[in-house]
Symmetry: C2
Subunit: 583 residues, 2 copies
Amino acid sequence: MASKPSIPKGTRDFSPAEVAKRQYIISIIKSNFEKFGFQPIETPSFENSETLMGKYGEEGDRLIFKILDSGDFFEKSVQNYVGEKEFTYLNLFLYTVLKDIFSEIIFNRRIDDFEKMIIDGYLTKNIFRVYLRNQKIRDYVEKYLKDNQIFFKEWISSLNQTLIDNNRLDIKSFDTDFDNFYLGKYLNTEKSNEFYESLNNANIKLYDDLNSKSLVKNISEKALRYDLTVPFARYVVQHQNEIEFPFKRYQIQPVWRADRPQKGRFREFYQCDADVVGSKSLWQEVELVQLYDAVFTALGLKGVTIKINNRKILSGIAEVIGASDKLIDFTVALDKLDKIGEEGVKKEMIEKGISENAIEKVQPLFNFTGSISEKIKQLSGLLTSSAEGMKGVSELQFICDTVTKLGLKESILDLDVTLARGLNYYTGAIFEVAPPEGVAMGSIGGGGRYDDLTGIFGLKDMSGVGISFGLDRIYLVLEELNLFPETILATSKALFINYGEKEAFYAMQAITKLRAVNIKVELYPDAIKVGKQFMHADKRQIPYAVIVGETEMNEEKFALKNLISGEQILVNFDELKNQLASS
Amino acid sequence: MASKPSIPKGTRDFSPAEVAKRQYIISIIKSNFEKFGFQPIETPSFENSETLMGKYGEEGDRLIFKILDSGDFFEKSVQNYVGEKEFTYLNLFLYTVLKDIFSEIIFNRRIDDFEKMIIDGYLTKNIFRVYLRNQKIRDYVEKYLKDNQIFFKEWISSLNQTLIDNNRLDIKSFDTDFDNFYLGKYLNTEKSNEFYESLNNANIKLYDDLNSKSLVKNISEKALRYDLTVPFARYVVQHQNEIEFPFKRYQIQPVWRADRPQKGRFREFYQCDADVVGSKSLWQEVELVQLYDAVFTALGLKGVTIKINNRKILSGIAEVIGASDKLIDFTVALDKLDKIGEEGVKKEMIEKGISENAIEKVQPLFNFTGSISEKIKQLSGLLTSSAEGMKGVSELQFICDTVTKLGLKESILDLDVTLARGLNYYTGAIFEVAPPEGVAMGSIGGGGRYDDLTGIFGLKDMSGVGISFGLDRIYLVLEELNLFPETILATSKALFINYGEKEAFYAMQAITKLRAVNIKVELYPDAIKVGKQFMHADKRQIPYAVIVGETEMNEEKFALKNLISGEQILVNFDELKNQLASS
């Protein structure tokens, strides 16, 4: 391989420094998940395709990475493809073979070797080169030909007789004559046209079906997971008898999407999900808001906004404006209030077909400010006529009141009625987390409640609620705000300089003892120029060098050099140990 | 979906208890890797196919999971497949079309609509239904037909003239006549036979090429990684300018193999690798033996045997027995010494074609016992005549002597000349770790030195040495020997019983404060029957319940119940906190 190797687009290598930063975020998320009573599970990277397909909409299906079946997938595909259609294909085969025999007889007035012509000649006929690989069909065809040898011989002699009788067949009506011979006279099929047509259609279909959509089912039965929610739902249903409900699980694993890569969007990325399944209690929502606050506080990320909304409130608004099909248009337009102003928003709504009368009814949403409880009060007035909407108001009220009374550490809770994230599957609370003001970045977390999480796998009435952390975006935000701790990279405390075999052995004795008390130290492996060894320590950001020449060995001492200050002291082993342990 | 969902064979779901145990092993491996100066990297789950293919032998290639290209892979495949063969396929197309026109003229004496016949009729001709999807070919064909309309009209009128002249063509020689028309007369091709044959061959090839091996290149350009070594080599070459050598990296990530699943063998499993690249120093080997010892000691696994050998010693033996091609047979047979005895082994060797004379020369290997230094002395006598062998002896001597002098904690170092693991790529030390005696399990770790780790990617002379831990097998061994700590599962310390909204709020205030000081506690989310809540705590193995009814609320107290002893005490918040923190 001459060219420099590379990795697939949308994927990443992580250097030690990057892994350290990612692990720092993950470990904080993890410890908080556990503090809140969530327990880890892991599911396989790939699932059966039927588990994933059809769960994310058409666009989602397209973005799922499919895994080619191992072994001879194409052969298997051919087998599967025609497996149940032997008879159709046999007929198609016979029709073609016999038509060629017919033509041979008419043009050449003879057949030299009937069997050879059928078996050798026509097995290689293009259209059948693929399909006759199918052993089942091949067996079927060969058996059929053998079983019907007498019939075919009769057929040919009858054909010959006709040729003799007529001197020759009328070539103008070759097709018709043949069909009469093949169908009418010898197969005794009354509906010859229908039969002919079905053969022709089968043939055309054969080629039309050779496309990705039909092939993928035959050559791929596994796919990389697209998110952690569907595998979790599958897990719950599959292990329902072993699980103690309500089940609080977290899962931190990579997922894969064949999306167009762009800034902050990758084809392989981690999801960090915490979900509770099996309880409708709104205390879960309260705790999930607290969990967001706990994680971001621990990460030193102050002032994130945890936005909350409720699907039932959106339904209520739809009821009030009398156009549930316009709900998305409505929220999208309303979301632009800051940018284009009240008149702009109203103009856009009217353009989208929402009546002025409807817009009038929800006028308060255009001045939707104040504390959460003030906002809830406004909503309550607005949605009086909608039972569903009022249920949403009461849910929101409990969650927001409780969270407020319990207090958040560093985050802000806010009610955002334009929050319509995942409208299609959430049924209650909807969450989204925005980074602190001034950071140009989309949401760094999101979630919500779905009343029927596991229904798709046949376990009904299992309510679930969960949140997710966007690892990659959180990484970028911490980087931008310079919030990663300095000491995050797990470098060694000291590099022992290698002066040769004897000195190295002396060093290694000390290293072995230091490691036994969990102090990270290293020996430079080769006795190269000392300057180069120091440079190595510098580049690796190792803070100390330990110098052991013959003098130090004889005195049973170690020269410990602080590579930042340049200061060097002579110490015995215990002093060395204490110095490195405390630094 | 009616049937219970499942996961692909060879994959696993991990329950919280299993994740905890796996994480326990991984965290010990990880902390020891870091203690020894290794730094983590991560590489993508899938690599470009060209990075992986051809690196693991034919069998390995077969076991690599390939990922279907996203988008319309089959369409792309068709495009790629015929992309460079437009002219051949155009000719094939024209030949077929014109032959049909010829036949039409001969049989019907006229063509109603030449253009329609070509464009409509023949675009749907079966053989072209697939290939004319290729836009490039389609454009080419259509342009060709348009550009040559005058030519075709002349062709047809000439054909008509011939028909008129001869009254009719001789149908017996239809093919020859057509070829004369098509090739000889109108395309001015002298080598008509050759041309015809090439068309025919192209057509046949088309179908024969429709198989997995040819298709896979067109429909899959990515594959799941098969191990961590090749991606690491790729990483080193790709990032060579950012890496400070010698580079000590570790990597703990899943790999995938389409192997037949069996006990302890999965299609998705973790590898835990530590490698040093960029130094030939034997101190690395010494440290890797120490690293094995450190990890297994930390896991409480006493008495594992770290077996060591050297590729150069094996080469030396091959030299001495004068049959380097018989080396594997030799080591396989010798490995059976315990089972079938000296005579049995010798018999097998002779059957495999190793001469009695050769066996005589390595007689000491049949009584190869004693301490490592005794064994090395025997090898030294045996291999005197082989320079390569003696280099292996000296390497082994340094490693074993040094390790012995530095001392191992719980493991046994042993020299095993039958160790031939990875014979094809290791060039120096070879390691393998056997579980403690009495545990029926294969090796739980292995590794070695390969002098040219990155050569496959174009970076020469980069020596690497590394070891790997077999997570799944270590798990099974710890399970069998009951070595997992009791307290491994991260359950909550206490479950607060839910008596209703007011009480729950009182509880949640305490919970919030407890979590703030990192104590894991939970509220049961619903105010259901108390007995059921206690049962939940029991099933979740939560050791305490906190009971807060109206009495406790009024007194600002908490009833703390030890669920194992049944003991219950009334405490204030600080007492509660101290009790849970210390338990």
